[in-house]
Symmetry: C2
Subunit: 328 residues, 2 copies
């Protein structure tokens, strides 16, 4: 039983049958109905192989995530999965923990014949993007860019979000700062740290010390504890993400006996669920994750449909959330 048999019974072209079974592709409701009735009559169920041979599509998109110790990943993954599901496309999951493994991971991805890739993590350079072009597989990068190479990216506006955050902290009387950054291997960590320091400098606040964690709760806790061994408490700690900020708050309260925000302001970035738990109520910059996930999927699927559409960069504004973890 082939797509041609279905086409004959449905009284439509084979290409109409192919379109009807192609995930994420529009076909008139009337045609789809005819095809589905014929398929049912003939007990025709295209399996993965048949569907791929018919449509040249697998109906799968690879999503590259990092370890879940940074709590933003599961939230992003959930949003992206929802967006792809609504287009009948499934997520094939790839986990990357070290930059060195990217080439190997891409080799894996090619063998699965995915329709596209969304990368929530990893540093992509010129050559990595070239490999995607070579394989004719579109890729969208989330919150990261490729130096000197056009690429599809969706980013939160770090510049605008961190400007608002720093202005708020300075207006609240915070003067002595500590920046608790993610690791230097991370593009996101570097961007957030550099922008925060630049905006502090515009307020005349220079030589701000930086401590480095790995975006995890435990690293937020440990970094702040280590800092406090040899230093007085700063007025405010600007953390590169919410997960570290939560760790920093727990260490400040339970380890150092500091009142937050009376004796220490702590801020995050991302707007993860736990940031809004009343036990933390973080002052943070919220990524518009729903809109960003939708943008990433829209950009990707447009290029799956039509590979000639040029690379696109979308920057969405974050929103400053004034919680009770910082004097402002």
């Amino acid at each position: 039983m082939t797509s041609y048999d279905v086409a004959r019974v449905a009284g439509v072209s084979q290409s109409a049958v192919s379109r009807a079974f192609r995930p994420g592709l529009s076909v008139s409701a009337k045609t789809k109905d005819k095809v589905m009735k014929a398929a049912k009559k003939l007990n025709y169920k295209p399996n993965a192989i048949a569907r791929m041979l018919i449509t040249q599509r697998s109906g799968m998109v690879a999503v590259i995530i990092s370890s879940i110790s940074n709590l933003i990943y599961p939230e992003l993954l959930s949003r992206i999965t929802d967006q792809l599901s609504s287009r009948d496309v499934r997520v094939l999951l790839f986990t990357l923990d070290e930059k060195e493994q990217l080439a190997e991971l891409l080799d894996q991805i090619w063998t699965f014949q995915v329709d596209g890739v969304i990368a929530l993590t990893a540093h992509f350079d010129h050559e990595d993007i070239a490999r995607f072009e070579e394989h004719n597989i579109p890729v969208v990068l989330y919150n990261r860019q490729v130096p000197d190479h056009p690429a599809n990216t969706v980013c939160v506006d770090h510049e605008q979000g961190l400007k608002q955050l720093v202005d708020l902290l300075v207006a609240g009387g915070n003067r002595r700062f500590l920046v608790l950054s993610g690791p230097t291997e991370s593009d996101v960590a570097n961007e957030r740290r550099i922008i925060a320091l630049r905006h502090l400098s515009r307020h005349g606040i220079d030589e701000v010390p930086v401590a480095y964690g790995d975006f995890s709760y435990q690293s937020g806790k440990d970094c702040f504890a280590r800092w406090m061994k040899d230093h007085d408490a700063p007025d405010a700690v600007i953390c590169s993400n919410d997960t570290m900020a939560i760790g920093c708050i727990d260490e400040a309260r339970d380890g150092q006996g500091l009142k937050v925000p009376e004796e220490l302001s702590v801020t995050g970035f991302d707007g993860i669920h736990a940031a809004f738990w009343t036990g933390y109520d973080l002052t943070t910059v919220r990524q518009p994750v729903n809109q960003m996930a939708k943008a990433a999927v829209d950009i990707l699927m447009e290029r799956v449909e039509n590979p000639t559409v040029p690379p696109e960069k979308r920057v969405l504004a974050g929103s400053l959330f004034k919680g009770s973890s910082a004097r402002s």
Copy 2:
């Protein structure tokens, strides 16, 4: 370029080539080396279609998860992804939020030709399991069982864990209880509630009130707030999972002004990361998630290899974690 060409150059049988490219299947290091060298020489890279035709395997396992408002899901997914990755098998993600959608979701799964399925959510009945048998696709259920039908399952020992938890609470002088249960559609919620009530009853504590949430932080918060409108505070709240317990603690402290544990004991179940954050330090029963994920993958892949292996049930003991959220 086909697997036969590679076999000829490598000086091995075609079936050896097929085995070398089959995810999760062992082949001698020497043979694999020969095959890979020949494949490289011939620039042979089996794509998904070729690999499926050769091996009758897709190298993909479908994992069914629920919405992430219950924080245990991303942690389980991460562990299972790691276990499958170590066998070169990838996770194809399916999200299920309502029981009614299970049949439809299974229809989707069949078309992807996955090698097996791990279900972290959903209620499976006799007929659902029969459909898996019909499609010759093995399935492993996580923390759930099928009444009157043999099925592969991995479960934490709810009975033993909750007995220890209830004994601890009673020993700590807690007498008036509230059970904060997950929804009645959830097998896990029902099992945990019924067992907790039974153990309380063995201590002569009967007619314990039950409030129902949906496993989310917000529902833990809201349920406890609603309860407190018309009632005095109980001595202890036994929550069906950690995420609700955290919501209950936040409402107790910030909404009701109760000291935890001095004025209210709160317990959870699961042992999610946030349970051990010092801001909560939950008394809970920890699922051995690493071992359970490994068991689920072992059971599944054994049946992918050999479909005649009979269904198996493994029950792993949880461990009581005595945090500071409960008088004990």
